[in-house]
Symmetry: C2
Subunit: 196 residues, 2 copies
């Protein structure tokens, strides 16, 4: 039942049997259908959420009505809107499922209690956010310094599994370009155009 999440946590901190017992007692499983929302713009993100199966996208809709995907989340990732979760304010993000998905969740209160009862989890989530922060800094640098073709290539290297699972226009949205542009880049790429 909790294999995936325990394995994932076990990479950063070691839990005793009782701690595992206590931790898993907090967890709830939720199944979501493809296209179903986990969170809609205006909702408050109230649950910390771990993806045990499936794939979701987090995106913002801009003034012109266009979607901009800021993140894909697959198995073993945490997903959510950290700002909304922390502050209790309505989210600007939408999060929905690109496949039938299964998530594991617990509430903010439970998380706070967890921090008190098993302080190791402070460490776990610190490490987690640190990694997310590092990735996000790298992404900023990549957006600023590299042309779209190279970013597409990076994306393929970095998320080989996601590329198989989500349609190209979603990848375009993640890369910050239009589907038409991505289509043209793919043509160049296929025709063997070098990256530099």
């Amino acid at each position: 039942m909790w294999n995936t999440i325990l394995k994932s946590i076990g990479r950063h901190i070691q839990l005793t049997a009782e701690e595992v017992e206590y931790f898993t007692s907090l967890l709830t499983v939720r199944k979501l259908r493809k296209r179903q929302y986990l969170l809609q713009e205006g909702d408050v993100m109230r649950l910390e959420t771990f993806v045990s199966k499936g794939c979701l996208r987090s995106y913002e809709i801009d003034a012109k009505g266009q979607e901009h995907i800021i993140q894909f989340s697959v198995e073993e990732w945490w997903v959510g809107d950290m700002y909304s979760f922390l502050t209790g304010t309505p989210s600007r993000l939408n999060i929905d499922c690109l496949e039938d998905t299964e998530v594991i969740q617990f509430s903010k209160d439970q998380l706070e209690e967890l921090y008190v009862r098993v302080p190791k989890f402070e460490r776990y989530f610190r490490l987690l956010v640190q990694n997310a922060y590092i990735a996000s800094q790298n992404r900023i640098l990549s957006i600023m310094t590299k042309p779209a073709l190279e970013r597409y290539h990076e994306f393929l290297q970095k998320y080989p599994t996601i590329e198989q699972r989500v349609p190209n226009h979603q990848i375009a949205s993640f890369l910050g370009i239009t589907p038409e542009s991505l289509s043209r880049l793919r043509k160049q790429y296929a025709s063997g155009k070098p990256l530099t």
Copy 2:
């Protein structure tokens, strides 16, 4: 001596007198001149660093030799390359001073010891990184969804003090545009062009 850093930490966690005592015993002050490096590409970031006075920039140099500023750090900010600090690998970043600067530092070992002796600091740094992560996600969205003029305007709103302190071409580098483009945007902006 330690007013600034203690005040800054006090916004997130409360320390007892002994904890303050212990914490400050770890700290070292370092003074840097304008243009001096805090870190150069290839160095390993070994010290956690808090800016008590002055202003620094963190930037990467790309394949074409161009600088891309990923962050300005002023008073009361932490500065560094988290990836290099965590992994002990050489940094791709340069960090140098835009003004005469004073920083407060302590080592990774000391930080680990601090986590053990005063676990509240796990919490403190978790909160800190969470905020940094949120800011960095917002920046990604902003880069992807907004034209340069609007991003410039956002920058002015968000960092009114920095704008006074650093030359425009550095701001251009932070915004991910050329100095020439920024100059033209400023002209538009001054001539009252609306943002939308």
